[in-house]
Symmetry: D2
Subunit: 106 residues, 4 copies
């Protein structure tokens, strides 16, 4: 995400004085609500879906993720790289390659 | 997200030959599954939460969002800005300021 | 659900003095958290799944639904029949038969 | 749930020839989608909510749970009692009373 996009998301919230509603817990609820709307695009059919609708719902999830990161002062790149370190340790290539088991089943 | 982080996420999937599991529908399921794990940090208490755990679960949601964008060839900045155009039209500042109604209630 | 099962669910909460955590909002969070754990049984494969695991996660969703109905004094049969009235009106047989469109697309 | 309600739910699906869409995986998606709509009643306010809306969304979750139990030939009382056995073992009264820790933290 570019800084310009991040700034636009922040300004949207500020202009509407919505920071008061953006508690971490409310944002976590919002992320799962939007994620379920995204899933709804695939509710009855895993193959065919409305691409424009997927774009809109995925964007909603991403915006709320950015809101939550902002609220808690997290740097997205930092937390993602921290988590990727964990994922790489939990799913070593030689064990995980080509299978979709959970790490504790590897 | 920096290009370096995006590349790391892509390489993680490639190295494990996991693209075969990353259908759009499976990724949409994964996003909501991780979003619910994030919400679990706030399940019984809206105020107190384990910040490290929130970082990890939020990162998981962000990674799967990036995976889905990648899979479908979406540019995150492009879809977010498209959606922000819609949001700004649905929630005009003069009507939405300081209240948390849905747009159809404004 | 039999009255005996309902009584067991209630007693479980009472014995642990957990009613204090069972606000409607916390129970709504819990339902979606457990629903996502149920979905996790189908995360990477729509066809093959661990039936025992599905039983456990579905039971968890049902228990929290009963908790929420209890908390708000709802009778499950009453609210379900009220909703079925709505569904039957929204999805008339002659229009909905054999297709999975949303009611506003019928 | 009374047998009459269960029969009504089954007839609704049959009359519309919707069993073809009711794969276990699609029903699991539907449960989480409806659970998130229920959570939306509490998105920005944990205390105030529209009770009628909560009734409708909770009923939707319960109907899809019944659909999935039906699809897989599960008896709701049986799976719930099986799970309550597990819960009672995981959360012994003397340890769990009055606290909301996960069982592995007790």
């Amino acid at each position: 995400m570019t800084q310009e996009t991040i700034d636009r998301i922040r300004k949207f919230t500020e202009d509407r004085d919505w920071d008061q509603f953006h508690s971490p817990s409310n944002l976590a609820k919002s992320i799962v609500i939007e994620a379920a709307e995204l899933l709804e695009c695939f509710q009855w059919d895993n193959e065919r879906f409305d691409e424009q609708h997927v774009k809109e719902e995925l964007a909603d999830v991403m915006v709320y993720c950015q809101n939550l990161a902002d609220k808690l002062g997290f740097d997205p790149d930092e937390i993602i790289n921290m988590k990727m370190d964990q994922n790489e340790a939990k799913y070593p290539v030689e064990k995980a390659k080509g299978n979709n088991c959970k790490y504790f089943e590897l």
